[in-house]
Symmetry: C2
Subunit: 200 residues, 2 copies
Amino acid sequence: MNKQSDKKTRTKERLLEATLCLISEKGYLGATTREIAARAGVTEITLFRHFGSKERLFEEVLKKYTFLPRLKEIIPRVKDSPPEEALSEMALRFIETLKERKGMVKIMLSEMNVYPDKIRKVYEKFIEELVKTLSGYFDTLRDRGTIRDIDTYLASRAFLGMVFCYFQAEEITKSRTITRKEAERVVREFVDIFLKGIVG
Amino acid sequence: MNKQSDKKTRTKERLLEATLCLISEKGYLGATTREIAARAGVTEITLFRHFGSKERLFEEVLKKYTFLPRLKEIIPRVKDSPPEEALSEMALRFIETLKERKGMVKIMLSEMNVYPDKIRKVYEKFIEELVKTLSGYFDTLRDRGTIRDIDTYLASRAFLGMVFCYFQAEEITKSRTITRKEAERVVREFVDIFLKGIVG
DNA sequence: AATTTATGTTAGCATGCACTTACTATATTA
DNA sequence: TAATATAGTAAGTGCATGCTAACATAAATT
């Protein structure tokens, strides 16, 4: 009972991946079960035998490709470096993770509105947790006297907003690839502004 | 030949508005011509007589509800105030405009990926022009010596990113309404950070 | 060898969709 | 009053989609 269930598992995974891929390209309604099955190299009925319905398949994709955990583990790793370094490192890994999970990001941005119950909760939770994790870091900096007395929650949102919006504009809107060098240059500038402001 | 064409025009406008409304709720594929016509208080065939096809109807919606001009006119009006005031004013009006054109913003975010040729061009141009307009303002500040020597293009993207991401998270993801007071508080904090940085 | 498991094949159903045809009704215009 | 412009009604076409039924196959398990 090993090779059989392996086969099953791999089929399921190929289906999930094909779904992620196609929905992120064409949207939930635009991605047909026939095409998903075809891209997974499987017949349509196999899809239904595994997931029962298109909707349940979609839900399993959402579960599987969440990427909040990946993002949260970034912060503890760098929080004892100097702020400039820590923030740069966080921003760069943030961008990297978003790039890796681009399909998921696209789905969240575009289907959020249409399938509120399924996606919005995932996304809301994602944002809030991420923001709070970063603002927790800012709290410790403030307690150490490293930074001045600002609203750390809003500061966190400001910083993440700058970075996310950059990613969104380049990779999603313009369909460009952000190179490592470019990311480093942009992040350096963002961190500089964020830490010291633009007044001089 | 006046009351007749008035009638025609109003029907067309109601159809365009209903389309904007429904597509921003359900996406292009999710919004059916039947429902659009119904919401406009008109029969389906009237829709086709006016626009020929669903796609052409969609294109006309995109044309009609562009809001780049509204955003661009903000900057010249405030560029001679002190930077803190000018930036706050711009951010607040930016948020206000986005709120007014929320339906259009939603469409752009969610359909961009599926109808690249139609939407992406609109959106790309929108971003670049807006960013450049703001960075032009930063250029003049730098020339006057008001701010230090930073990359004004990236600074512009950073600032707009903070504000837009805030709007997106609250109004679109969470489906909340940003009140005027809240907007003022948030913008004050953002501008403070952006001008002076968080180090202190 | 017999059975179970995972998948394939073929065909199809029911539904909803964009879009059409043909005819009618009403108000404006000339 | 006759002609025109705008919208309505009713019915329906053709197609794609989500999903299913019935049967077949080949490998793994027992």
